[in-house]
Amino acid sequence: MSATPLLRIEDLRTYFYSRAKQAFIRSVDGVDLDVARGETLGIVGESGSGKSVTMHSALGLITATPGVISGRVVFHDETPRDLLAGLDTSARLERRDDRIMAVEKDNRAWQKQVERNLDGIRGGKIAMIFQNPKAAMNPYETIGAQISEAVRLHTANKSPAEARERALHWLDAVRIDSPRLRYDNYPYGLSGGMCQRAMVAMALAAEPRMLIADEPTTGLDATIQARIVELLEELKTRFGMTMVLISHDIGVIARLSDRIAVMYGGRVLESGPAAMLLEQSEQGHPYTHALLASMPRTQNVKAGGRLPAIEGEVLDTINVPRGCRFRERCQRMHDGIRARCAEQEPELVEVTPGRRVRCWLYQA
């Protein structure tokens, strides 16, 4: 691969701890992701896949304990910076049979270190928009005030008048109706779609190099979802924005992504160019193929009107099995690899240029 990625996540692990069960919830269990400049990476996965937690971890937004316990998140700004620097000293892991069974972590020192690492980056160079926009914005301030605050924090426009002008500019850029009127609205006075636009405006106001969108269309009506998708598309074409798009809605991912990463049970199972992954061919990971085939679309309907559903339950990241995480639901295991699927988890390897799959079907 040619250019250095704008963001590289290496072996990220984020665990939570359940006191009642005395066990770890392995939300993110060794994730590697690259985001190249100017591209849109779509991360798709079901509940428990760890897609949201991954990006929240990257921006130091996980405060629950133990939280992030290993990994590097390298942001190639002017100089490369590890956003999670200092983790090695703050956290110690104990393994047993190649699985982490105990963690010692100095949470307070680590949080302080993270805040230092991310100063100026979070909200500034990397901006994030969230699901449920009304809840994500401050209900006690007008949206105009919040956007202006972003402007003053992260750009050179420090005076209130300048900030207001820029805020109005961004409200206009997200195509909100009557920006001057909406400037003085509070979040509760706006509909879901408008609020989402306002949040995008707030993110853009910092003039970031990268935008992370966490489930931006979930909870919105169909017609409004289309508008938000169009807006994000425009950000790509007009501003050349680098984006990470997290969603469980494959339609949204399909429309916007250049590359896609499929996550399941805390790990990336497959990553590669969007068109290739969405082909519904048998050349990628069985999970991706089965997921696309099971979506309630007319083209998937077999005889008798049934859909080819993936049997079993989505992986519960407290009880992670040995070997491949998808093993219990996989239809394409054969006797040649069955033993290996049960014992050992495959690595993510490149099967065709640009496409990496974590499956024994493709490895010797």
Binding site: D177, A222, Q225, S294, P296, R306, P308
Partner: protein, 334 residues
């Protein structure tokens, strides 16, 4: 043709809009929100009628009205030829078993303090009160088999179940009373994609096995197209189009239906979708609500130079058949 299992005629449900104390003195009339306004349709036996629309369009309210979970403002509901609209709660209760609902909320039917076993036994006991413990257990096992759940789930509490499992228990509970008609309100929306297909297959199998009729409420358009025989499209409390599922999806005649289907993120937006009108489809008492409710957002209305017929309160468009089996409420259907 056999008589329909469900006939809804002119169903209306108006919610009083609560005004503040001051408005009592200022003399403004309390408006009502016509959440469901003059809705009519039929449902045949063994048929699935899809009911689609965006949030706030009244589809859930329609479903709950059919179950008489709220008093109806106007109109009639006929179940198997019997007018159930004016039955008292006591008179209606025996019939309730035949008309059931799968609620959108996965936790709706599940008392968090009761084990699954107790929940199912209670439901079974409603129809078969004479069963003893052994009989109850047997029936519970049968129900779990029907929904593909393992027997060990009986000992669990609802909080210990996954989303898909909760949905199945909800379905099992409804099946325990052997209904003929099920109103399924967003049965798959809170579920993961890989689980949705399982539930859809289950509902289909149950329909074949028991000859059930479904009113399938959803905002997921491709899903509705897949599972329904016919589809009714609702907008702001009214049905704007009603016809065969394939026709509605591929050759819609109402501008709203067309906008809805073409807004799918997978397909490119067509010219038909307007980008100018900011109305968000909520009830707005400032704006005159006479005539067609979709007019402010309608691209055909704009393209035709805002014809007066569309906003004339005396000439509101009604559902009328433009082809056999296909009805549209529009003055200028596509």
């Amino acid at each position: 043709m056999a008589s329909p299992i469900l006939e809804v005629k002119g169903l209306s449900k108006h919610f009083a809009q609560r005004r503040g104390l001051l408005s009592m003195f200022s003399g403004t009339t309390a408006g009502t929100i016509p959440a469901v306004d003059d809705v009519s349709f039929t449902l045949a036996e063994n048929e699935t009628l899809g009911l689609v629309g965006e949030s706030g369009c009244g589809k859930t309210t329609t479903g709950k009205s059919i179950l008489k979970l709220m008093p109806v403002t106007a109109g009639e509901i006929h179940y198997r030829g019997q007018n159930i609209t004016s039955l008292t709660p006591g008179e209606f209760r025996p019939l309730r078993r035949e008309i059931q609902m799968i609620f959108q909320d996965l936790d709706a039917a599940l008392n968090p303090k009761m084990r699954i076993e107790s929940i199912l036994h209670e439901a079974i006991g409603l129809r078969e009160p004479e069963l003893d413990a052994e009989g109850l257990r047997r029936r519970a096992y049968e129900l779990l088999d029907l929904v593909n759940l393992k027997k060990n789930k009986l000992a669990n509490f609802p909080s210990e179940l996954s989303g898909g499992e909760k949905r199945r228990i909800g379905i099992a509970r409804v099946l325990a009373v052997r209904p003929k008609l099920i109103v399924a309100d967003e049965p798959t929306s809170a579920l993961d994609v890989s689980i949705q297909a399982q539930v859809i297959n289950l509902l289909r199998d149950l329909q074949d096995q028991f000859g059930l009729s479904y009113l399938f409420i959803s905002h997921d358009l491709p899903l509705v197209e897949l599972v329904s025989h016919r589809v009714a499209v609702m907008y702001l409390g009214q049905i704007v189009e009603l016809g065969m599922a394939q026709r509605i999806a591929n050759a819609p005649r109402h501008p709203y239906t067309s906008a809805l289907w073409s807004s799918l993120a997978e397909k490119r937006s067509q010219e038909a979708v307007t980008g100018t009108a900011p109305a968000w489809g909520v009830f707005d008492f400032e704006r005159p609500s006479g005539g067609c409710r979709f007019a402010p957002r309608c691209p055909v209305y704009a393209a035709r130079g805002k014809p007066a017929a569309c906003t004339d309160p005396q000439n509101a468009p009604h559902l009328r058949e433009i082809e056999p089996g296909h009805a549209v409420a529009c003055h200028f259907p596509l």
